[in-house]
């Protein structure tokens, strides 16, 4: 990047907030996606205000450099890898909770607010911000919006996008636009809020977010059901839903995951299990025992060989342990952990898990599956070593087949991690040509010079 552009960037954000040392560039060359695909940015700028963001984007248009907006860099899709020497626009310092409006049940925040910090702040008002991505202790609300992050509570409460009422967005051209506000109903024209949710930093930079909140559920009950047969666990999920019970959390671990968890934590789980379900119901205290026992009865009827219902918070913590230990257990098996993300219609869960198992065996790679059974969102997790190039060829082949299998079962290639770089090759097959073309047209219209997060979601857009 030429020195005069760097000087202008420094004029916008201040000398101290323009980072160009080799060490800083390395530290903003990656995100949490695996295998690693680091690319050095040409510079990093820390933005402190909407005005600074707008000025950086205007300069980018004038000087023709590309910009990658970034929060905490926890995304798993390669979404914040600065390809082509882009400038990283770090929004982590715009981290103020601007307002918690307990009368209107809304909160307005800057994009760099950490998800857990928002959760804790609204909890103090007896309120809940439900989206709970696993990385909530690190991830930012801006990043959650950009990726439309989900989480464990998706079945009952939905995902990030279901809670966004309005955004302040700096468009690629540097203009500032507000979409929506505190109104729970707003059909004044196109739903532009939704357009930016999950847009992965390719259409604009979100600089303010208004989310809706709900009353904090009074209490929670937890159950753990263990199955010899995966199919019985899947039938339990269907049975629970069919009984019009909507747990907050309905998580599944496959047999392989359970064995790795047992190796790691020694929780005393049988090693011949086909699956385990962690179910959590929440709501009014008075209803919960009844709901929990109905769910336990369904699980037993569907073939669970053991159902444990926690009668205290201490027991609940113990029941959650297996699910909580899933990722740490798998991450310890091999150096590289590729956490994949596919979604299928709920009824196809057992087929999907079985196909993953077959694919892993055929390609001789280690893959275990856990995920959000309630909403059909599974995380096939591949344990490998990215330094072993021969094995990585097999891994890539296996993962490709998993995405194709999800599509064949009526599912999709990503439920909550986004497309970014990693899923880009599979998008055309997932969405079809007309939908892809519509996306490219929107991109070209809002970002005519292609400066925002180029190469993410689809190939360099103007070439299409």
């Amino acid at each position: 990047m030429d020195t005069s552009t760097l000087r202008q960037l420094a004029n916008i954000v201040g000398e101290e907030d323009l980072l160009t040392s080799p060490e800083d560039l390395i530290c903003y060359s990656y995100d949490a996606s695996q295998p690693t695909s680091d690319q050095l940015p040409s510079a990093v700028v820390n933005a402190d205000s909407t005005e600074e963001v707008a000025a950086v984007l205007r300069l980018a248009n004038r000087r023709r450099f590309t910009v990658v907006p970034r929060g905490s860099g926890t995304n798993l899709s390669g979404g914040t890898i600065p390809v082509q020497g882009a400038v990283v626009l770090n929004l982590g310092r715009m981290n103020q909770i601007l307002e918690i409006d307990a009368d209107n049940l809304t909160a307005t925040v800057e994009p760099g607010v950490i998800t857990d910090q928002l959760q804790a702040a609204v909890r103090a008002h007896g309120l809940l911000y439900p989206p709970d991505p696993a990385s909530s202790s690190v991830s930012t609300i801006g990043g959650n919006v950009a990726e439309n992050a989900g989480g464990l509570r998706g079945l009952r409460y939905g995902v990030t996008g279901d809670y966004v009422l309005g955004l302040e967005v700096v468009l690629a051209t540097g203009e500032v636009m507000a979409t929506g506000g505190k109104c729970f109903k707003d059909v004044a024209g196109y739903d532009l809020t939704s357009l930016f949710i999950g847009s992965e930093g390719t259409l604009g930079v979100v600089t303010k977010i208004t989310v809706k909140l709900i009353p904090l559920p009074q209490a929670t009950r937890s159950l753990l059901a263990l199955y010899c047969q995966l199919e019985d666990a899947a039938r339990s999920v269907s049975g629970i839903i069919a009984a019009h019970l909507v747990p907050a959390t309905l998580e599944i671990l496959d047999g392989a995951t359970i064995r790795y968890v047992e190796d790691y934590q020694g929780l005393g789980l049988p090693l011949d299990l086909g699956a385990a379900l962690l179910v959590e119901v929440d709501g009014r205290e008075a209803n919960l025992d009844q709901e929990a026992s109905e769910i336990a009865a369904i699980c037993r009827r569907m073939g669970a060989n053991d159902v444990q219902v926690a009668s205290s918070e201490g027991e609940a913590v113990a029941l959650r342990e297996a699910r909580k230990a899933a990722l740490p257990a798998l991450a310890r098996v091999r150096p590289t952990t590729i956490l994949e993300d596919v979604t299928v219609p709920r009824s196809q869960l057992p087929s999907m898990v079985n196909r993953v198992r077959d694919i892993a065996q055929r390609h001789d790679v280690l893959i275990a599956v856990f995920g959000h059974a309630g909403d059909g969102n599974l995380h096939p997790t591949c344990m490998t070593d990215e330094r072993d190039k021969v094995e990585m060829v097999r891994v890539e082949a296996a993962l490709s087949e998993i995405f194709v299998a999800a599509l064949e079962l009526g599912g999709t290639i990503t439920g909550e991690h986004g497309v970014g770089l990693k899923k880009r090759p599979f998008l055309p097959q997932a969405v079809g040509q007309p939908r892809l073309e519509a996306m490219v047209k929107i991109k070209n219209l809002l970002d005519p010079q292609g400066i925002l997060n180029p190469g993410k979601i689809f190939e360099e857009s103007r070439a299409t």
């Binding site: 980072l19 060490e23 390395i26 903003y28 949490a32 905490s72 991450a331 952990t337």
Partner: protein, 397 residues
């Protein structure tokens, strides 16, 4: 150049970022190079030949407090502490040691202690005991060796800690000895800088063995951790003073005066997370009548560093202070009137933070609290009486 084990460790970081909110330097500096994830990325780039050794790199690596909260939290179980230790070793051997640590190295080499003072100053803390300490030094036959440590014996602000421990031992008639003016540094500050502590180990092992003591007690968690983890088996039991006090209180049940104040306990990293001692200091506090023990949200293995970890305070005082300020806020949030700890370094950094904030909270060692509580007991040691040293509290108003 870099041990292949470290290359393997570096490769296990999946960059999930779960370490970020655990890292005190990141919370203060809010930039990726001040995160465990960022430091590992830099070391990986070094291994892969994409980055050269430089002062810039040294700054990032030596900023690490070595508090190890990241290592505890990492979902993949990556031994981040070992990666950082190895990086420091490489930087130090290539002479990219920060100037403050270079000075520290010379001082320890030349004078045997981190203060760079002559050994004869080692016993100034106990001047009020007259010649007792000099007579005691090197005496054979005592069961217990009190290893004084550089900071408690050479930095006046920490004297009350050592005086309190000695006082309680005297009052409860524990037969103990000290190495006296010939005591040298345990070597841990060198190890934390990426340097060798072999010479210190060799000399200390010999000196400790010569006393014939079966128990080594030290009030310094860093010395304690070094003896426990980094020294070879010495044939002596290594006790931290808080453990020793807990034992004394349990076995001898001395009458204790009430201390009707709300106290929060700060877990020192070297004592807690790195050595597994969480309960002994709490048992000591709970033994004091009317003392109300309040826990900070981040307690025991999740405790947040005081900012005094590693050698940060000598390299980057401003950063160290901002970390201490954060921990002070956590302590103040409990409503406690006193922060008790079991480490002279934590006590100093928290005391200075309290002073900066003009916060109305005292900072004391658990040993000081006990020494105050047992103040009414009779004075005797091997039949001799001795003057009671002024046991001033460290007060952080």
């Amino acid at each position: 150049m870099i041990a292949s084990r470290v290359s393997d460790l570096v490769a296990t970081c999946t960059r999930c970022g779960y370490c970020l909110p655990t890292c005190p330097t990141y919370l203060s500096l809010e930039t990726e190079r001040a995160t465990p994830r960022g430091r590992i990325a830099l070391i990986r780039a070094l291994i892969e030949g994409r980055l050269d050794l430089s002062e810039n790199l040294a700054q990032q690596v030596y900023q690490c407090l070595g508090c190890e909260l990241c290592t505890l939290t990492c979902p993949g179980g990556v031994n981040i502490a070992e990666i950082l230790s190895e990086a420091k070793r490489i930087l130090a051997s290539a002479e990219f040691l920060p100037p403050a640590l270079d000075r520290l190295r010379s001082q320890i080499r030349q004078s045997g202690n981190i203060a760079g003072e002559p050994g004869r100053n080692r016993l100034l803390w106990g001047q009020d005991y007259g010649e007792m300490l000099q007579e005691m030094a090197g005496a054979k036959g005592a069961d217990v060796l009190l290893f004084m440590g550089c900071v408690p014996s050479l930095f006046p602000m920490a004297y009350p800690l050592l005086r309190s421990v000695a006082e309680i031992m005297l009052k409860t008639e524990i037969d103990f000895t000290i190495l006296g003016e010939s005591e040298i540094c345990c070597g841990y500050p060198l190890l934390a800088a990426g340097l060798s502590m072999d010479e210190q180990i060799e000399r200390n092992v010999a000196a400790i063995a010569a006393t014939g003591a079966t128990k080594l007690v030290t009030a310094c968690p860093s010395c304690f951790h070094a003896f426990k983890v980094h020294y070879p088996e010495m044939g002596v039991e290594v006790w931290h003073s808080s453990e020793f006090l807990a034992q004394i209180l349990a076995e001898r049940a001395p009458a204790l005066r009430p201390y009707p104040k709300a106290v929060t306990y700060h877990d020192p990293c070297d004592l807690g997370r790195k050595s597994g001692i969480y309960e002994a200091p709490r048992q000591v506090l709970k033994a004091i009548p009317d003392l109300q023990l309040l826990e900070m949200v981040a307690n025991r293995e999740k405790a947040f560093c005081c900012g005094g970890g590693g050698n940060l305070e000598s390299i980057d005082p401003e950063l160290s202070h901002s970390i201490a300020d954060r921990r002070l806020d956590q302590a103040l949030a409990t409503g406690a009137e006193v922060i008790a700890s079991a480490c002279q370094q934590c006590e100093r950094t928290l005391l200075m933070a309290a002073r900066r904030a003009r916060a109305k909270i005292r900072v004391m060692d658990v040993a000081q609290l006990v020494a105050e509580a047992v103040a009414d007991m009779g004075l005797s040691h091997s039949g001799k009486s001795y003057p009671t040293p002024p046991n001033k509290e460290i007060v952080g108003y």
